[in-house]
Amino acid sequence: MAEFLAYLIAGLATGAIYALAAIGFTLVWQTSQTINFAQGEFVMLPAILILAAVKLAGLPVWAAAILGIAAFIALFGWGFKLVIVDPMIRHGVLPLAIATMALSIIMKEGAKDGFSAEAQRFPSLVPQETVSFLGISISLQHIAIIIVACLAIGALQWFVTRTKTGRQMQASAQNPNVALILGIPVAQMVMLTFLINAALAALASILISPIYLAKFSNGEVIGLFAFIAAIVGGFNQVRGALAGGLIVGVIDSLAAAYISTSYRLAVPLVLLVVIILIKPEGLFGRKEERGV
């Protein structure tokens, strides 16, 4: 039982990180119909940028973190929207999705050739210790991840539902034409979701890299789990992406412990296929209307 709870907490911690990536993914999908196949690389890269700033420029960790995150948000929030999404969206959803695949190759190879092909240690915010609580040994890191991710998602939820800008953002996602007529700066709102996506990815990167180490190929698995989380939860819902992330994280952790380490990856994949078969709109999603 104690063992089970330990796996559960570890699963919730990684799940919270997948949720951050999945929420960014759904936000961008909602406002601009962009299916970002580079989402996993978005989570991989900020940690690499921070390490590069530490190793190559000799900055202290905190300064490198600020610089790395700022550079990442500028490049892959603002720049991504401006250079890739805007010119491409007029050609339709398909070329844009393919362009994000090309982008994922560039990011991955860029991190490998520009920084390192080896996994790098990444500094942790909290000590890597475990505490005993009611007979369960819990990693402090896992607890910190769950708390930070929950705070971030709570703040996002508050922003989206309680502030004027957040409501404008929602309106822009739901019906851009009407939002425009009502005087909402839709273009700025769409840009805002890209910035939020980049910020969530950067946060996920900082949280996950101390556990998995920073490596150029990390994005593959993280991206896969973020997609699965988004679809399992419901493609068009932020809270769905949150629930989906946690479910996928816990299932992955339990599958690794109790089923098979070599096939742990297969279990969430099977879950994905089952969800698509029986409830394609996701556990918490709404059915989308189909237009001509």
Binding site: G92, A97, A99, A102, L103, G110, D113, L272, P280
Partner: protein
């Protein structure tokens, strides 16, 4: 639709095959190998071109299907002692069947779910190839894959095998050329241009999208069946998800929907790296950047660009329309 353009495609395919039959003379083993690899890759890209360029579906498992074909052929020819030709047919049929099984649930819902189901499938195939050591040899792979013997002629050397690949590729390309001009091909095109209208005209959307995906997957199986004897040793790494992304980029780079696009795309993806050796590992970045640039400037790819240039030179519109861009 202008039939003369299709005859031009036919002529180009046959002429290209004749040139490629003689091309590697004096090129050496490695040069010949690269040419053969180009054609094998083009077969996989052709299939994906049908799925993506003609039917408008994103499949992220083309490399995985190629892996299934390669492993099936390798196992059948080494362990079961079956000849290459039946192994080739079985590989294609197997991928066709798996494509039907995979596409059926995904396409029931919505076309873009196919992308996610195939994404998951890609990873599953890779896990099986890596973990089931008793069958696939795991990370050590399968080696000593024999090359086929045709009418008593051995193709163990690079040149005869290359010529063999040229003939098989030509046949596969001609089948696809015929298919796209057939009523089925027209139905595929109608689906991509306007699915709802196609449905109202009596095209069974689900059956046709499923068929396009299954045929596209079968082509990956055929490509795998050629790939295994070409490299004579296979392991799971060339069939990973990133390889499927790469094949998709080749479709777009060549010109999605164009019959000759796969050859141009595979040329950019397979032969260009040999010329860009001096850039070291940066090749993939250059290729991906070229694709993004193409997608922004001309989503119809290199062939679309050429067609546009040709139209501008002739100062009059082309008789047939280039593939119309997607709107979703």
């Amino acid at each position: 639709m202008n039939t003369s353009r299709f005859d031009a495609v036919f002529a180009t395919l046959v002429l290209g095959a004749v040139i490629l039959w003689f091309a590697p003379v004096g090129m050496g083993r490695y040069g010949t190998y690269v040419l053969s690899l180009w054609l094998v890759t083009a077969v996989a890209v052709m299939g994906l071109n049908l799925t993506l360029g003609v039917a408008g579906l994103k499949s992220l498992a083309q490399a995985a299907f190629m892996g299934i074909g390669a492993y099936a052929t390798a196992l059948l020819t080494t362990k079961a002692g079956i000849g290459w030709f039946p192994a080739f047919a079985i590989s294609g049929a197997l991928c066709f069947a798996v494509g039907l099984l995979l596409g059926f649930p995904a396409l029931r819902v919505k076309a873009h779910y196919l992308a996610f189901v195939t994404l998951a499938f890609s990873t599953l195939v890779w896990l099986v190839l890596r973990n089931e050591q008793w069958l696939t040899g795991g990370v050590f792979g399968l080696s000593n894959i024999p090359r086929p013997v045709i009418f008593g002629i051995k193709t163990d050397n690079a040149l005869p095998f290359h010529r063999f690949v040229v003939v098989v590729t030509l046949l596969l390309a001609l089948v696809l050329w015929w298919l796209v001009r057939s009523p089925w091909g027209r139905a595929f095109l109608a689906l991509r241009e306007n699915p709802v209208r196609a449905a109202s005209l009596g095209v069974n959307i689900r059956a046709y999208t499923l068929l396009a995906f299954a045929i596209g997957s079968a082509y990956a199986g055929f490509a795998g069946a050629l790939y295994a004897p070409l490299v004579e040793f296979i392991d799971p790494s060339p069939f990973q998800l990133s390889a499927s992304f790469f094949l998709l980029l080749m479709v777009v780079a060549g010109g999605s929907g164009y019959q000759l696009g796969p050859f141009v795309g595979a040329l950019l993806g397979v032969v260009l790296p040999e010329w860009l050796r001096f850039t070291g590992g940066l090749y993939l970045i250059i290729f991906a950047a070229i694709v993004i640039g193409l997608l922004i400037a001309c989503p119809q790819g290199v062939l679309g660009l050429l067609e546009r240039g040709w139209a501008a030179v002739r100062r009059r519109p082309m008789g047939s329309n280039p593939p119309v861009k997607e709107t979703a």
